[in-house]
Structure formats: C-alpha cells, structure tokens
C-alpha cells in the first residue's frame, strides 16, 4: 500500500506552486472586487504549464495524466485563490478527447479555449439530467438536444458556468427526446449562442450564464457514464481546491493564535480557540483522505467515482465553510475587515457552496449511492 505522491506528482505540484507565485493572486482577488481589470488572465498560465492538455491523451497532444494529478494543481490554486480556469477547461478537454473531437489538439495546446457547461447526472430523487438554475431551487432540465447525424442543436439555458465567459468553444450537454444525454462541441460565437459573462462575490471565479437558442455544434461520441464523469471531475477539483484554501487558512490562524496575547497569554492557549483550530485540522485531514480516495477511484475503481468524488466535495465543502468562519473568529473583528485576507477566503467559501450543484448536492449523492447499494466495494490484499 502506497498512497504517497510519486516524484512526477511532486514535481507537478511544485511547478504549480511556482507558476502561481509569479502572479500576485491574493492581491488580485482583493483588487478585482472593485476593478475587473485587476484580475490576471490565467488562461496563458494554464496553457504554458500544459494544464489545458493535462487530461488529454498523448496521441491527441496531451499529457495523458489522471484526475489526481489535476487535483494536485487545483489544491495549489486553492492555497493562493488563483483564478485559473481549471473547472471549465479540464472537464471540457477530457470530454473532447474521449469524444473524438478534431479540436482536441488545439485545445490541449492552448490555442483554443474550451469550457464545459455543467450538467448533473440523474439520482433517485431527481431522475433526470439537470443544469444550474439562474435563480431558485428548481433545477431546469439539461438543454433539449436534437441530433442530426454529426450535428446537435440545443435549446436551453445553463446558469453560472465557471470559465465559460472566456471560452471560444463550449462543451454542451443536453438531453434528447428520450432523456439520454448528448454532448457536443459548440462554437461560442455560433448562431443562437448567448454568453453573459459575470461573477458574484468571489472575483477570482469568472462565471457565465449561457443561453442556447437553436445553437448547433458537433456531436461528441460519448456515453452517459463518460458525460457524468465530467461532473464528478469538477466535484473533485472543487474539493481539492478547498483543501488548498483550508490549508492556507490553517497556517494563518496558527500564526496569529501564537503571537496574539490577551489577558497575559497567547490566545492559542485558550481551549475555545485551540479546539476550533483543531477542528479545521480535522476537517482538512478528512478532506485530504477523501481526495486520495477520489484519485484512486478515477484511476482504479471507475464504479466508485460518483461516490468518492461526492464524499470529497461534501466534506471539503463543509470544511471550507467552517474554516472560513473560524478564521474570522480567531482573528476577532479585524478578520471581518479588508485589513485582513480572511474575507477573501470567506468570499470563496460562500460562492463555492453554491457552485456546480453546491456541496449539498454532493452530500445527497453520497446518500443516494449508499441507499441504492452503490457504495464502496471494500476488499483487502
């Protein structure tokens, strides 16, 4: 049994940390709240580092690496709140590659910016493919898809898609008349496509609401399970990113709890503060364990991907929520002001918990998998 990182994985992680250190990501996260232009464009960073082709097979010009490798980069991004387009670009590149798109090589090379429009696979409580609503609790059906040979025409709206605003190519998932999922690559400037780029609360997270009104694209040769994989990949990436953000916040809390004195002693000596910080550690370690499981499921246990990735998003999502609030509490009043970076963590956590299904949907998915006998198969040796 060996769950440690390989030399290649350590190199990949260190290279990501190095790439982010050259951009003042945390400062940008703060300034961009008031000035859109302050947010650095991280697409070129991702292209230069080779991340846009990370999950693309080698014969299509990619690195042919796995989900866990991508998660390591997401974790580094999360540490410094880097607005890098992993959540849109990585699932898009994976689906284009698996679906046999002739645009895969250009996407892997960073010459064509592709982004995925989130579509959530059915569960026993919600037995249909759904997409993010623009507002409210009712989840709309995935766009209606009409297939004509290699061409697919979509009608429908997808809310709050990460990174789609800058994309030149959209990987769209809809459902045909029998409710089966259909994926296609649609040019962002094709007729019938309206992209409203926007963001909310966390300025590092560029989002877009995409309306398709008879917009056509090229069909990708993908089955339901492959299409669903993109959803779980993004759950895993958000979980890993959250792990990075929690790790960074823990360090900040520890430093302050050791140097800040009240009533003649460091505040970290008080149990109320100490136990709250240990609770961050507990949730962080649990999240890390589940990220390892998710990486393992992607590489070795495809039947457990849905369960593992949902476990990871559920625990890491709730963990980041807790951490963001605890970080403010440890710092007292100053933690709730712009004098400190804690509000940036808080903004990230607030948007995260509502993004791509929110971590609540993953929590329900964990229950759904277990209650329908699709939990883990535990065997040893």
């Amino acid at each position: 049994m060996n769950l440690g990182l390989s030399d290649e994985q350590q190199f990949l992680r260190d290279a990501a940390a190095d790439a982010f250190s050259r951009v003042k990501t945390v400062e940008a996260a703060r300034e961009a709240i008031e000035d859109d232009s302050a947010l650095p464009n991280m697409w070129p960073t991702a292209a230069e580092a080779g991340w846009l082709g990370l999950l693309v097979s080698e014969e299509n010009g990619g690195a042919g690496l796995g989900a866990y490798d991508a998660m390591l980069i997401a974790q580094e991004a999360g540490k410094v709140l880097a607005g890098v387009p992993l959540l849109g670009a990585l699932p898009a590149s994976m689906l284009l590659d698996m679906g046999g798109s002739d645009k895969t090589e250009a996407v892997a090379a960073g010459e064509l910016k592709a982004s995925w429009l989130p579509a959530c696979p059915p569960s026993s409580l919600e037995p249909r493919w759904t997409v993010e609503p623009v507002e409210g609790m009712a989840r709309p059906d995935a766009p209606a898809a009409t297939v004509d040979g290699d061409s697919v025409t979509f009608t429908g709206t997808v809310g709050w898609a990460p990174d789609a605003g800058e994309a030149e190519l959209l990987v769209v998932i809809g459902v045909d008349s029998s409710g089966e999922p259909v994926a296609a690559a649609v040019d962002a400037d094709a007729s019938g496509v309206t992209v409203e780029a926007d963001w909310r609360y966390d300025a590092t997270r560029r989002l877009a609401t995409v309306t398709l009104d008879g917009a056509s694209g090229t069909k990708l040769d993908l089955g339901a399970e492959q299409i669903a994989r993109a959803w779980y990949l993004v759950q895993a990436l958000i979980a890993s990113e959250s792990v990075g953000t929690m790790e960074a916040a823990l360090e900040v809390c520890l430093e302050y709890a050791k140097e800040r004195y009240t009533f003649g002693r460091a505040i970290g000596s008080y149990q109320a503060i100490k136990h709250g910080i240990v609770e961050i550690l507990r949730r962080l370690e649990n999240s890390k364990s589940l990220c390892i499981y998710t990486g393992f499921a992607f590489s070795d246990k495809p039947d457990e991907i849905a369960y593992a990735a949902s476990c990871a998003r559920s625990v890491a999502g709730a963990g980041l929520d807790f951490t963001a609030r605890q970080q403010i509490a440890v710092h007292g009043g100053i933690g709730a002001t712009w004098e400190h970076d804690a509000p940036l963590t808080f903004r990230r956590a607030q948007l995260n918990r509502r993004l791509v299904g929110g971590h609540g949907m993953s929590t329900d998915r964990v229950a759904d998998e277990l209650l329908n006998g699709r939990g883990p198969v535990v065997s040893v040796g």
Binding site: M1, N2, Y68, Y293
Partner: protein, 407 residues
C-alpha cells in the same frame, strides 16, 4: 497510488489466510446467529481461541520472538486484523493485556517478570487488567491518589480506588499506578506495580453503564499487601512506565479499531428499510454528511498504513479519527432512532445498544477535549494552558485543592 501489498506482505497474508482457513472452525461465535450467550461459556471459549491464535503466531505478533511473538511490524499486524475480519472470526480476548500491558512489561519489566508473566498473558491463561484511572484522576492521570506504602520487610501496602477497569472481574493480574511519595511533584512520586487480583483486600464491583451492562469495574484496595518484587520499571518511575502503556493504547485505538465497526453501509440498510426515510431530504442530507466522514476515516486508516510502510509516524489525521468516528456514530444513532421511533429503544435493539454505548466511548481512552488539546499542542504547536500544579509537592497541591473547593 497503490493499495496492493508488497510481495512480502502478500506472502505473509497468504500464510495468515491459510492458518485461518485451517483453524477458523475452532473460533467461537460471539455475534449474530448461533452466538454464545452464557458469559462463563463465552469466557472459556474466547480464552481457548486466544490460546490457539497465540500458538499460530497471530496473537501478540508484534512482540519480540523471545517472548512468544513474531517480531513483525505494524503493517503486518494490520494484515492480521484484516484477514481475521475477512474470515469472520473474533480477535483475541485480552486486547488490553496483549496490546498494552504486555508491551509495557517487555519495555520496563525485569527479566524475572518477563519470564513469569508474558507467556500466560499471551495465551490467555492469565487475563490482565489496567488500573490507572481513578474517580479523581482521569484526564489528569498524574493525580492518582491510590497509595502504596513501603513496609519494613520490603513488601508494599496498597490503599485506594481504581475505576473503568475492563476485565477486572476475571483478571489474574493487574498493572497498577500508585503514589509512593506524595511529598514531591505529582508526576514524580508514582510507581507501577503488578498486583495479583486474588490478593486479600481487593474488591471488584461492576460499574453498570447506560445500557445496564457492566463492561468495566471499580476496584477497591483495602490494606492489600503485595510482594517486594512487584515494582515495574523502578520506584518513582511510574509516570514514565505509564506513558509507555498509553502510547501502545493510542497505537491500538488508531490501527485496530478507528472505525469501531461503525460503517456507513450498516446504517444504510436501516434507512433503506423505511422507504419514506430513504427519500426524505433531511434524512439523506444527515446521512450523506456522516457517511462521507466515516468514509474519510477508512482512507485515513490506509494513509496511516502507507506512512508506516515508509517508516514514517502517522500524522495528525490518525489521532482525530476517533473523534470523527464517535461523533458520526452518535449522529447515525439519533438519525436511525428518529426514523424507527421508540421501538429503536427496545432494550434488545442493536440501535439502543449503540446509542447507550457511545456517550461513554466519547471519553474512553481520553476525552474529546483532551485529545483536541493534545493535538493542538503537540501537532500544531499551540501553547498549553497555564497550569497551577507544576513543581508543587502533591500533598501541598491536594491541600490547596481542598481549600479551594466549596465546603
């Protein structure tokens, strides 16, 4: 990332599996269908099974060979527990003796003590109990008041009370932490002894828990005289010896039973049995949260094994696994009993038993609060709380405490 055994581990696993295949027919049934119910019968059968495991090299396998063990590492000992679980056979009877007290004697005992006690302990011919905690010494274990006075003929006389003593009702021997010098600071004035549990003046009284069962005991000592050679690890070195035992306890809790059998799949069955519950948003949300945390603990266990394999000490995730497990199980018990209703609290119900058991488990082996202090201080480097008992002779400290307490 690789969950598979190394070739050596695979070879060892094959040996263990072969032994279990050949011998599992002799294992007593302690749970489920056909389980033994008479406590005396259970004791006899479980003792015999431990003896068998010891002969096969599966009990105390991490002990050195010269004392009856196999000298294997922690990863191989995990292989043993996995294979025993797979084979559906019970583990050893004297988990505390073999896992904690034997290793303490191996580390600190005299050669005579090792030769006399370790063999019968390993084979369950003599069961052992651990007598550290007292009514006023739990989290603050160094506050023990049980007194051992040196007699002129070299023997010692014990007076005091111990509590939470598992297996004391049928133990042959116990390891007891007692105060031998109250006039020096509290961590320094203690000594560890071996006590024969049939000595005159010892009274064992079952301590009933919420469920009504007595899984552990109170033990009273009234002028109990023990031999001069019963000291373990030297006079006034009791704290150091005790820390060794507690280190083995943490290892045992972490490696052997961090999930205590509380698996999400077991809870899922109970929820599925009620179709309304299985499609209720709140039930699903609660269940999803606790199930994913329990899943994390399974992988935390794998991480620990992976770290041990690489010769590293498992990290902080290891110590917090118990907190997660117990709190998730508490939530699961509440959730399932809410679904079933009062019927879940039938005395015979597995859920009533679980619900009754958990509040005590929360404090067992160190309360959640103490665990969080320890990890906050040792792992995260946070400063300890100021203490008022450092450097003060124990007798003075006690006098001060009495002064401070309301009349």
């Amino acid at each position: 990332m690789d969950l598979n055994d190394t070739p050596e581990q695979a070879e060892y696993r094959k040996e263990v599996r072969a032994w279990l295949d050949a011998n599992k027919a002799d294992a007593p049934i302690l749970q489920g269908e056909g389980a033994l119910t008479d406590p005396d019968e259970i004791l006899v059968a479980h003792r015999a099974w431990q003896g068998k495991l010891a002969e096969g090299g599966l009990a105390g396998a991490t002990w050195p060979k010269e004392y009856g063990g196999q000298g294997i590492g922690p990863v191989e000992s995990v292989v043993i527990s996995q294979e025993m679980q797979e084979a559906g056979v019970p583990g050893i009877l004297d988990v505390i003796g073999v896992g904690m007290l034997g290793p303490t004697i191996i580390a600190h005992g005299s050669e005579e003590q090792k030769q006399r006690y370790l063999g019968p302990l390993l084979h369950a011919d003599e069961i052992w109990c651990q007598m550290f905690s007292e009514p006023a010494a739990g989290s603050d274990l160094a506050a023990v008041q049980t007194r051992a006075k040196h007699n002129d003929d070299g023997t010692w006389t014990l007076n005091g009370q111990k509590v939470w003593t598992t297996n004391a009702q049928f133990a042959a021997y116990g390891l007891i932490l007692a105060r031998t010098n109250p006039d020096i600071p509290k961590h320094k004035g203690m000594t560890m002894f071996i006590v024969p549990m049939d000595a005159e003046g010892i009274t064992v009284r079952g301590l009933r828990q919420i469920s009504g069962e007595a899984e552990f005991n109170e033990v009273f000592f009234d002028d109990v005289v023990i031999d001069a050679d019963s000291v373990v690890g030297g006079e006034e070195n009791g704290w150091g010896v005790g820390l060794t035992t507690l280190m083995f306890e943490r290892l045992a809790i972490g490696l052997g039973s961090s999930s205590f059998g509380y698996r999400a799949t077991r809870f899922a069955e109970a929820i599925v049995a009620d179709p309304v519950a299985a499609s209720d948003h709140e039930v699903r949300h609660n269940f999803g949260e606790l199930a994913s945390e329990l899943e994390a603990i399974r992988w935390t266990g794998y991480r620990s094994i992976s770290a041990l394999r690489d010769g590293q000490i498992p990290g902080p995730e290891f110590g917090l696994a118990k907190v997660t497990t117990v709190n998730c199980a508490v939530r699961a018990g509440d959730l399932i009993a809410d679904i079933i209703g009062p019927e879940a609290l039938d005395e015979e119900s597995e859920w009533a038993y679980m619900i009754s058991f958990l509040p005590g488990l929360k404090s067992a082996g160190g309360t959640e609060e103490i665990l969080r202090n320890t990890i906050g201080e040792r792992v995260l480097g946070l400063p300890p709380e100021p203490r008022l008992d450092k450097g003060i002779p124990f007798s003075e400290l006690r006098a001060k405490e009495k002064e401070g307490a309301p009349a």
